[in-house]
């Protein structure tokens, strides 16, 4: 079942029924939810994570929170925004923990900030030498620029890259009108285009 199908008529009803089953402790239903939603969830974490924290670690933390707290979800229809909020909170928590334990990091400019400058995207740990060579520098620079956009523009733009996520679904997830989503994605793309053009002219 694709993301788009989940949002259509009877599929939405099936999705809500699955959430209800998961809330009642059905492990298979919970696993199905995780498999269905983890792609956009990874993107939300990527958009919000502090640059020094591994994406995989945060994803694992969110998975643990989901298992622990699914029984607390009151409105099964609001599963996606609820799950997104868990992810955003985990990212904020990771940022706070870093500030608490090693306050010098934010002073000496070695690390990025959750809301501000970000560390470059690290190479995925699963990448072999061939994959690393094949991945073009330009593509990585494009992603780095996208991750440097203001959060309000970054998140909808990246969510749109998740296969099948419509403006409507992104709007529901972020609790924003569709027109706002559309405007932010359009502006984010223009900013990206201009950044890449400026960079091209400098090189």
């Amino acid at each position: 079942m694709t993301e788009r199908e989940h949002n259509d008529g009877s599929f939405a009803a099936i999705a809500v029924a699955t959430v209800r089953q998961a809330c009642r402790g059905d492990r298979d239903a919970l696993a199905l939810l995780w498999n269905t939603h983890r792609r956009w969830l990874a993107v939300v974490i990527l958009a919000h994570r502090p640059g020094w924290v591994d994406l995989e670690d945060l994803m694992q933390d969110v998975a643990v929170k989901l298992v622990d707290r699914i029984g607390e979800l009151r409105d099964p229809g609001a599963f996606r925004p609820w799950l997104r909020q868990i992810a955003v909170n985990e990212c904020r928590l990771a940022a706070r923990n870093r500030r608490t334990t090693t306050p010098l990091a934010s002073v000496d400019g070695q690390a990025g900030d959750a809301e501000g400058t970000r560390a470059p995207m690290p190479a995925s740990t699963h990448d072999g030498p061939v994959a690393i060579i094949e991945r073009s520098d330009e593509a990585m620079r494009l992603l780095d620029h996208a991750l440097s956009l203001p959060t309000d523009y970054r998140e909808p733009l990246l969510l749109r890259c998740v296969r099948g996520m419509s403006y409507q679904q992104i709007g529901e997830l972020l609790d924003l009108p569709v027109t706002t989503i559309e405007t932010r994605i359009a502006r984010a793309r223009r900013m990206l285009r201009e950044e890449m053009q400026d960079e091209g002219q400098l090189r």
């Binding site: 995780w34 995989e56 643990v64 989901l66 990448d127 991945r135 992603l143 998740v162």
Partner: protein, 199 residues
């Protein structure tokens, strides 16, 4: 069409959200201003590259599986062990009660026979129980939780699993439901078997 409107319609075209009317309007305007076609082409390419790169960047994270529940709920714990605990308790009571069927058991019980019940520790009682004829053995304990206590000690909570056997006479009704669960507790089952001199 101003810059914002152009950006917006380009975005809608790329994302497949533009209506036929919007596409026609864009085409008509772009024919008079070819830089719009260039903007569309660049935006399309960038969107495709970004989607692919994002896919790569998140693929490992997307392979993260849901963890198993971290701890057994407090309420579930007594339920989980009650069957085995009951078996041990029944065995202990059986041994401690004077004059109850002691002659039917093996040498281990003879060792315990002369000790005052009050001085018997749980472990010797459990060993005696494990030596009963109907006990086949103990399976490897199942770890439930490792927890650091406030005083620095580490608490290991484990489920001990003891395997028993009971025998039925030919023609006896099978005390097992459709899901394979016992309908009689092991003690009652053994008592019924004992009545028929199986033990």
């Amino acid at each position: 069409m101003n810059q914002d409107q152009t950006d917006r319609i380009i975005t809608r075209i790329i994302d497949g959200e533009a209506t036929a009317g919007e596409r026609s309007t864009f085409a008509a305007d772009a024919d008079g201003n070819p830089s719009m076609w260039k903007s569309l082409a660049l935006a399309q390419e960038q969107a495709a590259v970004l989607a692919r790169t994002l896919d790569d960047a998140t693929s490992t994270a997307c392979a993260v599986a849901l963890p198993a529940p971290r701890r057994v709920q407090f309420g579930a714990w007594p339920m989980a062990v009650s069957g085995w605990a009951a078996a041990v308790l029944i065995a202990a009571i059986w041994i401690l009660l004077p004059g109850v069927q002691r002659g039917t058991h093996d040498g281990q019980l003879a060792v315990l026979h002369d000790e005052p019940a009050a001085t018997l520790a749980a472990d010797p009682l459990l060993r005696a129980y494990l030596n009963a004829q109907y006990v086949l053995g103990e399976q490897e304990p199942l770890m439930l939780e490792i927890e650091e206590l406030r005083d620095g000690r580490i608490a290991l909570r484990m489920l001990r699993r003891i395997e028993e056997v009971a025998f039925l006479q030919p023609g006896d009704e099978l005390p097992v439901d459709e899901d394979g669960r016992l309908l009689l507790d092991p003690h009652a089952l053994r008592a019924r078997s004992a009545e028929r001199s199986l033990f």
